[in-house]
């Protein structure tokens, strides 16, 4: 079984985001970038499948600027076998990412694609679903557990009020939620080995995709400052304050 895992280069989750003064986006100059944490979970799951003898090859794909090779190297250091960089200096919107991934899936013929459920920069939560639709494959989103039942996947997902289990036909699309696993950190020997693993370089045009943006961002702003709260003495006071604020009738 071959597993494909797309990995995105995003602002590190520890970085305090600053909005550019002209409100066109977020300031990325001299900001630490890392692999999207949900993609780390996806890679971890794929590598565990390989270690368990279920997967034979794990391929990591990143779509973005040249420095996305660093993100692929991180995936290789965690245990992926090889990488594909689809280089683009433009912002690639989720639908275009899904179209490029469809091209890669047709060329690589994986049995399973594991994506992060969303990227922490734009929080779109679209790519996995769009890819499944474009390919006409089954999809299991927000996976918190993946098991095998013969040639089918039993996928547990967290939904309101409990757990739901899906049985999916292969090939299939899975998106990883936070509790699927706890990603490993790279060991030194694996960091060294990763340097020797191959990374192919492609462009969106190789897959016949035009990455021109179809969405227009009007402006990006900081979230409003939270106002300081007040302390109430009693339940009666709480109720009257809520009524004053028009929250309850």
């Amino acid at each position: 079984m071959k597993v494909l895992v797309p990995v995105k280069r995003v602002v590190d989750y520890n970085v305090k985001i600053r909005v550019k003064s002209d409100q066109t986006g977020v300031d990325l100059a001299n900001v630490k970038m890392s692999m999207n944490p949900f993609d780390e979970i996806a890679i971890e799951e794929a590598v565990r499948l390989k270690e368990a003898g279920k997967a034979t090859e794990v391929v990591a794909v990143s779509i973005g600027v040249a420095q996305s090779t660093e993100t692929i190297r991180t995936a290789l250091a965690m245990g992926a076998d090889r990488g594909i960089l689809v280089k683009s200096d433009e912002t690639v919107e989720p639908l275009n990412v899904a179209k490029i991934l469809k091209g890669i899936v047709e060329a690589e013929k994986p049995d399973l694609v594991i994506l992060g459920k969303q990227a922490i920069d734009d929080d779109s939560n679209q790519t996995g679903q769009m890819l499944a639709a474009l390919l006409g494959w089954a999809q299991g989103t927000f996976a918190s557990k993946i098991e095998f039942d013969g040639d089918k996947i039993l996928l547990t997902r967290e939904i309101d009020g409990g757990l739901q289990t899906l049985k999916l036909n292969m090939p299939t699309i899975v998106t990883a939620d936070l509790r699927l696993n706890e990603p490993r950190y790279a060991s030194l020997p694996n960091i060294m080995k990763a340097k020797k693993k191959p990374i192919d370089e492609k462009t969106p045009a190789d897959y016949g995709v035009d990455v021109k943006a179809r969405l227009e961002v009007l402006k990006v702003t900081e979230p409003p400052q939270r106002q300081a709260g007040i302390k109430v003495e009693s339940v009666e006071q709480l109720v009257s304050k809520l009524k004053e604020a028009g929250v309850i009738g």
């Binding site: 420095q67 090779t69 991180t74 030194l188 020997p189 960091i191």
Partner: protein, 388 residues
């Protein structure tokens, strides 16, 4: 001049911080109180292959430079491990460099792989109570008896001697008054730590109680000739070879400790409200913090300049010594400032900065004192008469 880390170097820093995550403030606080070698931390570092970072690939290392090793050690210290974390693995990282440079093939394959795998722990026995910083005045004597040496004498301050299975030992093999060249006459050995022939007494000390330092009394320790590294009588020169990298690592560790202290102090200054505002809003609090940052980062530049010179095969004695001096002082100031920023809480163990403060004395004193560094720079860089 590009001062930024390469992606590989950044990856090393990130990986070490992740590795250190389970060994948090509470872990090191407990270790400091109860003592005892941080065995689980040591094992985590060894299991992930980090001990061999600067060892040749031919013996199972990663073959990276002192720059990368310094980044690793700095991250361990900066994560909150401080000198306790750093000293627990310090010797494995570069201590056996004399074996890499001067050892025979047999010695390399025998000695290095178990150290890289973390199966062997070693200690480095140089300092003696009666010689101090004057290393050529060492008295511990290794007498040749056919195919072995018999060692008698004393060492002091020997770190990790409680837990070590091996010892890198510098001892005299020719009496001082029989020498024409006074820097000759010492030899270097790497051998089993035979506790039936060496008495080890731990020294109660100010800080870093998890990593022991000891008095050693040698009473007839036997060392087979094949455990002598390089030529007899050339031990001092062999040690000199590894001194600069050692200074660079200590400097990086000290800066890591200073950064940990500054991180705690800055967080406290933002959160602690007195007179109706965060204490960090007072310049009397924020300026000392900013000054510490400037001092630490300046010391860091000197440290990585020295590392870069070393990795490129260039002379780096002045820079490595200056880096150790600047880093130790900057770390000490950062710890002092961190305590003052915390007010009374700075004196309480649960705020961690008093522990950092006690540990920050180590890089000021060892492996070489501030005075001797300044004497060295005055002589070698500024052309002053030798004063020691």
């Amino acid at each position: 001049m590009d001062f930024s880390l390469t992606p590989d170097q950044q990856q090393i820093r990130d990986a070490i911080f992740k590795l250190c995550e389970p060994f948090d403030d509470d872990y090191w606080l407990k270790k400091d109180k109860a003592g005892g070698f941080p065995e689980d931390f040591y094992k985590a570092v060894a299991d992930q292959g980090w001990l061999g970072i600067a060892m040749p690939e031919s013996v199972g290392g990663a073959g990276l430079g002192i720059t990368e090793a310094a980044l690793m050690m700095q991250a361990i210290s900066e994560s909150g491990g401080g000198m306790s974390g750093a000293s627990a693995v310090h010797l494995n990282i570069f201590g056996l460099n004399p074996v890499v440079v001067f050892g025979t093939e047999d010695q390399k394959t025998r000695m290095l792989p178990p150290l890289i795998r973390g199966e062997d722990k070693a200690c480095f026995a140089v300092t003696e109570p009666d010689a101090g910083l004057n290393t050529t005045g060492l008295k511990t004597f290794a007498e040749r008896k056919s195919d072995r040496y018999i060692v008698r004498g004393q060492k002091i301050w020997i770190t990790t001697a409680q837990v070590a299975s091996k010892m890198l030992l510098l001892a005299r093999t020719t009496p001082y008054d029989e020498l024409t060249k006074k820097t000759d006459g010492l030899s270097l050995f790497y051998t089993d730590f035979d506790r039936s022939k060496v008495e080890v007494r731990e020294i109660p000390k100010m800080g870093r109680s998890a990593v022991d330092s000891n008095m050693l009394f040698f009473d007839g320790l036997e060392i087979p000739v094949e455990n002598r590294i390089g030529a007899e009588g050339k031990g001092f020169q062999q040690i000199l070879h590894g001194l600069n990298p050692e200074r660079i690592l200590i400097a990086a560790e000290a800066i890591g400790l200073g950064r940990a202290a500054l991180r705690k102090a800055s967080a406290y200054a933002r959160e602690r409200v007195v007179f109706g505002r965060p204490i960090g809003q007072n310049q009397g609090i924020q300026h000392p913090l900013a000054k510490c940052w400037a001092e630490l980062e300046a010391a860091n530049l000197m440290t990585f300049k020295a590392a870069s010179l070393y990795d490129n095969g260039k002379e780096c004695g002045a820079e490595a010594n200056a880096a150790k001096y600047l880093a130790a002082e900057a770390a000490f100031h950062a710890c002092e400032t961190a305590i003052l920023t915390h007010g009374g809480m700075g004196y309480a163990k649960e705020y961690h900065v008093e522990r950092y403060m006690r540990e920050s004395w180590i890089p000021r004193i060892a492996p070489v004192s501030m005075q001797l560094i300044l004497s060295f720079i005055a002589e070698k860089v500024l052309g002053q008469p030798k004063s020691y």
